[in-house]
């Protein structure tokens, strides 16, 4: 039988095994495509690239302010597509010392005649500073419901880290406010709350 020159003789592997391995890689790579979603978030969170500021900051120890440095923090507020709200920072910029907790407010008003829900998404520039910008309280941690014609001031409490690289003297925090409608509001709640 072994002398017979059939192709079976040279089979180092069976077809079933090769197919099995290939299909396993296909399934694995398909899963990897989806795994890139959380991996991307984690990667951005660790490295601070992409201007994605992290979620609620729990300070472990009370730090004192570094009075020798002054950082200018600027605020931008803009609406996402088709968002009719009036949205602006109460103060366009503040001068802060690294280590001190600062509270600022953003003004939002729903000028329409329907009840709406908004969600603010932050982005920090330069992205190098993202790791050193801590928010202890932010309206962007939650969705903002506003009744028709209602207005509100939304608080943000932040600390600029004392370890902020010395060549950074200015940080710009930008918020984009998105219309979440009414029906979507409940479904997206869990996903957006930890988005910070």
């Amino acid at each position: 039988m072994a002398e017979q020159p059939t192709n079976k003789v040279t089979h180092p592997r069976s077809n079933a095994r090769v197919i099995g391995w290939c299909l396993a890689s296909v399934v694995g790579m398909f899963a990897f495509g989806f795994a890139m979603v959380p991996l991307y978030d984690v990667f951005c969170d660790i490295t601070g690239i992409n201007g994605k500021t992290s979620g609620r900051y729990e300070s472990t120890e009370r730090t004192t302010a570094d009075m020798t440095r002054t950082i200018k923090v600027q605020f931008l507020a803009q609406n996402g597509p088709d968002m009719p709200w009036i949205f602006r920072p109460v103060a366009r910029s503040v001068e802060v010392h690294p280590g001190e907790a600062i509270t600022v407010n953003f003004y939002a008003e729903n000028p329409t005649d329907r009840n709406m829900v908004g969600q603010a998404v932050p982005s920090l520039s330069p992205s190098e500073g993202t790791l050193y910008f801590h928010k202890t309280e932010c309206f962007c941690f939650n969705q903002q419901p506003l009744a028709a014609g209602e207005s509100t001031e939304m608080p943000l409490v932040f600390i600029v880290d004392r370890d902020l690289p010395s060549h950074i003297t200015k940080l710009t925090l930008s918020y984009t406010l998105y219309d979440q409608g009414e029906t979507q509001a409940a479904a997206l709640k869990t996903k957006t709350t930890d988005n910070g």
Binding site: T10, M29, I49
Partner: protein, 527 residues
């Protein structure tokens, strides 16, 4: 059906079934290869027609022929059809025909799956092309379908586009599994991995690339599907997603994809140049390792497509250097092809003409790729016609010329007849001139700042665009000549001997021309 089988059963030699069922039900690698090649050429003409619409509109500044919405559908469909409908199926067709012949196998390892993977393709493209007639039109967001352009702002037909991509992805994956199983399990006794013909090597590596990245493409379109229809927010910033994530996932597929479209051509060229140089391929082992290196590096360079989205400097540097590194193995390959020709006794039949043009023009495309890879310069070139010039220089004289070279090289083996050399040389020279006329001016247009994917442009770009359009019409109409040449070859070509080219080496030239319906039922012995 059974009557046919009975008459042939006596000599144990089953010929093809008759009529349409031969093609619908065939599990023969030669039949399936032929169908792949015919399908690919059909799609090439369809995608080419769309390119003609694009070039006709760009012949002069202003809007003359089509509206911007339709123009965008044309650029999108042209790209999708050429990539997934013309180039990839052509290489799968060549693989089906040639891999079993080259490794001395009687057929592909999984013949029934082979049939299925082919017949999925016409279904996928029927769905894709039908979107042109749907309300809201065909996809209009470019072949790269960036979110949120394709999700939030895409036409209603986007869902059909997604299903079409899913189906062609399944087809490619099955084709790739088949190639891997065939190459690993069905080689003739004595054919070790390092004795495999280069085309088999390049296809084996291509198949691994396909297995690795087609599922990622399927994943990214699935995410789009969910964003569009099920209210998820993978790419929607309002819901906590990120549009830049789309580009990362897409290009993780997209960059290996460009090597999927060129590596099999590298393999074919590595047979054609030695055959017409009457020398062995220079540096076989280094060719194999170079292809492997290119394939591995292709997974580490995806972000060079997206330098301008705000990649941090460290990332830009990494992706820039990794990309530049690919020039090394590619340079090894070009060097080896030139060294093969060096002091060979060269003749320039049509396959060799296409092969030499491949080496020269693909290298030009490679050099413009190096320019684009330099991150600070890329900010200037990004999304201009320079990019269009670059990738058409690697895909037209790279992939397409590689396919034409292979087709002319192996036509005598497939049909048993020689093609008309004069007509074929005319086809080559008109293609060569037309292609350069069409794409070379695009370099200048891009450097001067003309953006890609626009139906109208500023007046100062008018002359180069007119030249480019004339070249495109020339290149496009010339391809009909290829159809004529093949038909003439099949009908009335001179009979070809088993070894159609005196310098050609390999198992495929040891069997008669045309290749019998069943070959290597008894495996040959490789020394």
């Amino acid at each position: 059906m059974s009557a046919v089988a009975d008459t042939h059963a006596q000599d144990h030699h089953h010929g093809p079934a008759s009529g349409i069922s031969r093609w619908l039900l065939t599990t023969n690698h030669k039949d399936i290869g032929t169908m792949y090649l015919i399908f690919s050429f059909t799609m090439f003409l369809l995608g080419g027609t769309m390119a003609m619409v694009i070039r006709a509109e760009l012949f002069q500044p202003g809007l003359q022929i089509v509206q911007p919405e339709f123009f965008n559908q044309m650029t999108t469909m042209h790209g999708l059809i050429m990539v997934f409908g013309a180039v990839m199926p052509a290489f799968v067709g060549l693989a089906n025909w040639m891999i079993p012949l080259m490794i001395g196998a009687p057929d592909m390892a999984l013949p029934r799956m082979n049939n299925w993977s082919f017949w999925l393709l016409p279904c996928a493209f029927l769905i894709l092309v039908s979107t042109l007639f749907m309300e809201g039109g065909a996809p209009n967001f470019g072949w790269t379908f960036y979110a949120p352009l394709s999700t939030t702002y895409g036409p209603p037909s986007t869902t059909f586009f997604i299903f079409a991509i899913h189906i062609m992805g399944v087809s490619s994956i099955m084709g790739a599994i088949n190639v891997i199983a065939t190459v690993l399990n069905m080689r003739a006794p004595g054919m070790t991995l390092m004795k495999m013909p280069m085309f088999v090597w390049t296809w084996l590596i291509t198949a691994f690339l396909l297995i690795a990245v087609m599922p990622v493409l399927a994943g990214v379109v699935t995410m789009m599907l969910m964003d569009i229809n099920f209210g998820t927010s993978f790419f929607n910033a309002a819901g906590g997603g990120d549009p830049v994530l789309f580009q990362h996932v897409f290009w993780f597929f997209g960059h290996p994809e460009v090597y999927i479209m060129i590596l099999p051509a590298f393999g074919a060229i590595s047979h054609i140049i030695p055959a017409f140089s009457r020398k062995q391929l220079f540096g076989y082992a280094s060719m194999v390792y170079a292809v492997g290196a290119i394939a591995l590096l292709s997974f580490l360079v995806w972000a060079h497509h997206m330098f301008t989205v705000g990649v941090p400097v460290a990332g830009q540097l990494f992706f820039m250097y990794a990309t530049l590194l690919i020039a090394v193995p590619t340079g090894v390959k070009v060097f080896n092809w030139v060294a093969t020709m060096f002091r060979g006794s060269l003749t320039f039949e049509t396959p060799m003409l296409f092969a030499v043009a491949f080496v020269i023009l693909f290298t030009i495309g490679g050099f413009s790729g190096l320019m684009l890879a330099i991150a600070p310069a890329d900010f200037q070139y990004h999304d201009t016609y320079f990019v269009v010039a670059h990738f058409h220089y690697v895909l037209v004289p790279g992939a397409i010329f590689g396919i034409f070279a292979s087709a002319y090289f192996w036509l005598p083996k497939w049909t048993g007849r020689m093609y008309d050399e004069t007509l074929a040389k005319t086809h080559f020279w008109l293609s060569f001139i037309g292609m350069n006329l069409a794409f070379f001016p695009m370099h200048f247009l891009g450097l001067a700042g003309m953006p890609r994917r626009i139906p109208d442009y500023a007046l100062q770009f008018a002359d180069f665009n007119m030249v480019s359009s004339v070249g495109a019409f020339m290149f496009g109409s010339t391809q009909l000549l290829f159809l004529l040449i093949v038909v003439k070859c099949v009908k009335s070509g001179e009979k070809a001997p088993a070894k159609a080219w005196e310098g050609a080496e390999g198992l495929e030239w040891t069997i008669p021309s045309p290749a019998p319906y069943h070959t290597f039922s008894t495996p040959p012995e490789i020394k």
